[in-house]
Symmetry: C2
Subunit: 310 residues, 2 copies
Amino acid sequence: MSKLVIVGTVAFDAIETPFGKTDKILGGAATFIGLAASQFNVNAAVVSVVGGDFPQEYLDLLSDRDIDISGVEIIKEGKTFFWSGKYHNDMNTRDTLATELNVLADFNPAVPEAFKDANVVMLGNLHPLVQMSVLEQMKKKPKLVILDTMNFWMDCALEALKAVIKKVDVITINDEEARQLTGEYSLVVAARKIQKMGPQYVVIKKGEHGALLFHDENVFFAPALPLEEVFDPTGAGDTFAGGFAGFLAKTEDYSFENMKNAVIYGSTLASFCVEKFGTERMQTLQDKEIYRRLDQFKQLTQFEIVLENN
Amino acid sequence: MSKLVIVGTVAFDAIETPFGKTDKILGGAATFIGLAASQFNVNAAVVSVVGGDFPQEYLDLLSDRDIDISGVEIIKEGKTFFWSGKYHNDMNTRDTLATELNVLADFNPAVPEAFKDANVVMLGNLHPLVQMSVLEQMKKKPKLVILDTMNFWMDCALEALKAVIKKVDVITINDEEARQLTGEYSLVVAARKIQKMGPQYVVIKKGEHGALLFHDENVFFAPALPLEEVFDPTGAGDTFAGGFAGFLAKTEDYSFENMKNAVIYGSTLASFCVEKFGTERMQTLQDKEIYRRLDQFKQLTQFEIVLENN
């Protein structure tokens, strides 16, 4: 079975949206990525760190889905990373109310021995030096390395970020971040510049406006499924990345054509994630629900124009 | 040959974008709609009004494309409608610098006798009373009536607008306008409310983020083609509508399935429109360029997931 290493935060989130608010609930990039990837029949391991305050039931939730958590370090005397945010009425913008790094401040990732030959490595949003450390621990060059990052690292660790970008095959990044990284407004031009920085494949996430996949001169676009209601966008980007990585790890086909399917799977899983607070919806998600929604994606995007004259 | 009636402005535009600015050039909703629809083999007529200052060469430009302009009234002592605008750096927002209604203020549309039995009527953005007057002149109930409108009429002529919305089969409207018209943020919910107001089909235009087509419980989405550079967005929405209406008039198939294709054709034509100032690009557009770009649309959106379990 194909092996997938996921590095990222496992954390507490407290979320406020126009629909309600939560206390501290399960969150973190690696959590969402792991839950999404666990929908595929892959051998996934999460590499992360939590404090002594982190409930065993949350860890069980991952290991119950056959996610290896031997790489999740527990620092008994420490506190788990905590993020708190409040979404505006449009659900597209948010204010960060609190960021407490806690045990994340000194995070030294340790990839479990059995996963140092993984085919696919998913570097969730973290300090680029931490991401690089995971890559350096791999004993065999992975078939595919996927990097997620954010504007924060462009502001405060740009050189380290550029160094890790150089090493990866795929980068997932949102539209504003792609613009910031390249100084280009056009996403087509920005994606081309990013490809020159290292990754052959560039995924630009546009939130409710879908996602673009670029490779050489090829472009593929997947819309977000139009939903009646977005309840909580937290984790949607990570769920997208987890679906993308999980599908590719499962199929072991890293071609552009198959990445199109991975983008569709990622978008499909993300469309569930936003239906409830935090990881709630992902915890109950069934295969048949996924298949039904993939079919909706086909209905949404597929057409039958016969070109009269090529 | 299928007949198509187009009502809308034929006008002067003066445009400023980050790439340059124009003097008074050819513009107007009916102009863009007509040029787009003329790509299809349909018998189209434009119903509009211009002043004595309107150059014959602009009128020739329409009639050279076999567009009937007998319904374009020329008021010799009057001046042509003039709009001037300046786009911001993001090309998505603009300031209106001048709007001179001139002959449009007293526009009394007259549908040419030979077009009063047209299959398709395209009501371009105009005062809803003018749009209604065109509908009332039709001797035979058209197979399809398409309405385009904007927030301005919601602000100042809402009851008249609602009356014409009630009479049409398709409405094309942008996302913010759909929200304003219904008071709903979710476009899915907004589209459902608009369907209850009359039109069975609702097209929500999201500019660079594509367009959604709603009908009953069905949704179809067409992205905008990712372009390296948007030079001038003026007329893109009208070009979309013209391609949509022209394709449906040509094929005489007004089903949801065929409307998907119409949305793709509309998006394709709009992707050319924005490449140069005003109507410039549409004037030189060749069939083979359209076919090539339709193929790009297929590459951009079509995927091959085989569902294992329906």
